[in-house]
Symmetry: C2
Subunit: 379 residues, 2 copies
């Protein structure tokens, strides 16, 4: 398949090459423009098992397309025996399945790296969990009939823009075994938490790939093409790779690394977001997830990692791709404290206390540190 065919071109002086920030360089206006458009999940929203509309993280590479469900067509083609062309009514006519999925941006935590890769400047909040309803991708591919030489499914969204000089529709691929697998079961989804997809989450149709970072969940999905050679488009071969330098081909970003997050206890200062608590017993809680295997352990430290104890984990509820609630208690005493939580998944993967670095700022899962100041009630 011709890479980004028909739209690829360079626009000189319009699109800058990737870079890392200089030592001490503040967040740029360009990074701020991305932060003002896209948004994370305020961490107090960890209280909700299903993230309410508007609190789930959103990252849009280009513009949110002006997509109407009534006009939408999803095509399935390439190395298939019978190409398909489906409207939303046709998609809804298939038996539907619903999966509860925790989704996280591959760049979560990027803005805390040193040096800082210049891109969407996430701190730690690029996550959310929703119930996605749709048709398994494998059902559509079975109906179209996969040719024996097919190796990948290339997924094309309707959002159009330029990235590092390459004009493109957002496009990613999945290996055929993932696209046709049932563990996880990849969805062509048309509903989020029981309602039609909001515009910013891919209305009317998106891909959902449980356990994978957000870049795989192509929004505004308009075409699925099976190919006989691996896809080498921008979002596959250039972006979303673990690289140490600009010319390192790197390794592809795929599954979500384990992470636990805590609801910062107490109350904040508006500007610094510093936290204050009162002395006494305080419930600590949060959620933890991994895209490799369910989380089996969350440890908490209330002394900045010197000592740890196990938090109580909520029972699995048959949602292997969703986060698990955890809780523990802490007796706060006046003074400064640093709270830390760390998840371990069923594959034995856990979180680092010092973050390895990569040039794109992907796959970070450094333990969250929550400094709190314990102060007595006003007299």
């Amino acid at each position: 398949m011709d890479v980004d065919r028909g739209t690829a071109r360079d626009i000189e002086g319009f699109s800058a090459p990737g870079r890392v920030a200089e030592p001490g360089e503040g967040i740029s206006m360009e990074e701020l423009a991305l932060a003002a458009r896209n948004h994370g999940m305020p961490l107090e929203a960890l209280r909700y098992e299903l993230t309410p509309a508007g609190l789930h993280y959103v990252l849009v590479h280009y513009d949110i397309p002006a997509a109407e469900a009534a006009d939408w067509r999803l095509t399935v083609g390439g190395r298939v025996r019978t190409p398909l062309r489906l409207d939303v009514v046709a998609l809804r006519s298939y038996p539907s399945v619903t999966h509860r999925v925790t989704m996280e941006c591959a760049g979560n935590g990027r803005a805390r790296l040193t040096p800082r890769p210049v891109s969407q400047p996430w701190l730690v909040e690029a996550v959310g969990t929703a119930e996605w309803t749709g048709v398994p991708l494998r059902v559509l591919l079975e109906e179209a009939g996969v040719e024996p030489d097919a190796v990948e499914a290339v997924l094309t969204g309707a959002d159009h823009g330029v990235e590092r000089g390459v004009e493109q529709d957002y496009r990613r691929s999945l290996p055929l075994p993932v696209a046709t697998g049932d563990d996880p079961e990849v969805l062509v989804a048309y509903a989020m938490n029981g309602a039609p997809l909001p515009p910013q989450h891919g209305h009317p149709v998106r891909l959902v790939v449980p356990g994978w970072y957000g870049m795989a969940h192509v929004k505004w999905l308009r075409d699925i093409s099976l190919t006989s050679t691996p896809f080498t488009g921008f979002q596959q071969s250039v972006a979303y790779r673990y690289k140490q330098s600009a010319d390192d081909p790197g390794e592809p970003v795929t599954h979500i690394a384990p992470r636990a997050l805590m609801i910062p206890p107490g109350f904040p200062d508006f500007m610094t977001r510093a936290r204050a608590v009162r002395p006494g017993r305080i419930g600590l809680e949060g959620r933890a997830w991994s895209g490799h295997a369910p989380v089996v352990r969350v440890e908490v430290s209330t002394d900045d990692g010197r000592t740890w104890h196990d938090a109580a984990l909520a029972a699995p509820e048959g949602h292997p791709w969703a986060w698990r609630h955890w809780h523990t208690a802490w007796t706060a005493t006046p003074g400064n404290h640093v709270l830390v939580a760390r998840a371990t998944d069923g594959d034995g993967r856990t979180q680092p206390v010092e973050q390895p670095w990569n040039r794109g700022g992907f796959g970070n899962n450094l333990v969250q540190r929550v400094p709190v100041l314990c102060v007595p009630e006003a007299g």
Copy 2:
């Protein structure tokens, strides 16, 4: 009334005084933390007359409270004859009214000021329009019976935090004539676009003050108290004032200044957000609003303000507090262009081309400049 009674105290070294950024100082991590939590409306969402859930701008001073509708009580007290205590069922039993209201953060545009006031770093996107349903505040005050010496209504939200050393629940006041007026009609709202309020928009009850900047629309509203002296709490006397220096008492921030915004045409670069269009006729459109009087004119320049022409304004539809759609056309030729739009309201107020400065970064309505690069289609 005792200012911020029962919660006011200083926490040394926790909460920094207000400041403006040094020349050339990049956006700080603290400003970024606010930008990652709160979010603007991506400008392509100007295509929607009613902003869909999750795209409307949100600013939360402290944390989103864990508020449940079933447990909520709104009290009405102070200088009234009969204090009220209402649950959400009781609020819903009053005849309801619905108003379409454009809401904008008073700090919109702050991050483009020089020097930059350090706070929530909005560029231009802190706006949204929704239909809010609830009970007119004057109906509740009539039922409670306003004492003759009452001069203000003090509105208290449930969000709790510290700001510049002052621990507080978020609290603002309205002059009694505004609180009991019917032009605009202030609402105690429990629904947004026909659904219960989302958590981040004040679930289950908030104030809506049509025409005023966002700081007046107290979210998670739990108490309304009439007072016989003007309220002098933090959000009234310290924050949200037009000041030139830290010790200037300043003037209060109230109504929204006129502004027109344009949907940036064409398609963006991911990182720079620079815009590209193809040569030929291009529709330009957007929306314009003012909190003083309906917008009566939108002018557009396609040559960075050297010449202007009038855009077509959509007919008023009986929503005097909502934005008006505007559109015009432009024939793009290869090269660089700067598009500008400027609104004028029925009171004759318009938008500056050079922004006056104030220390809080409030009430900015500098004209929006949209640089675009017109490039031919790839050959």
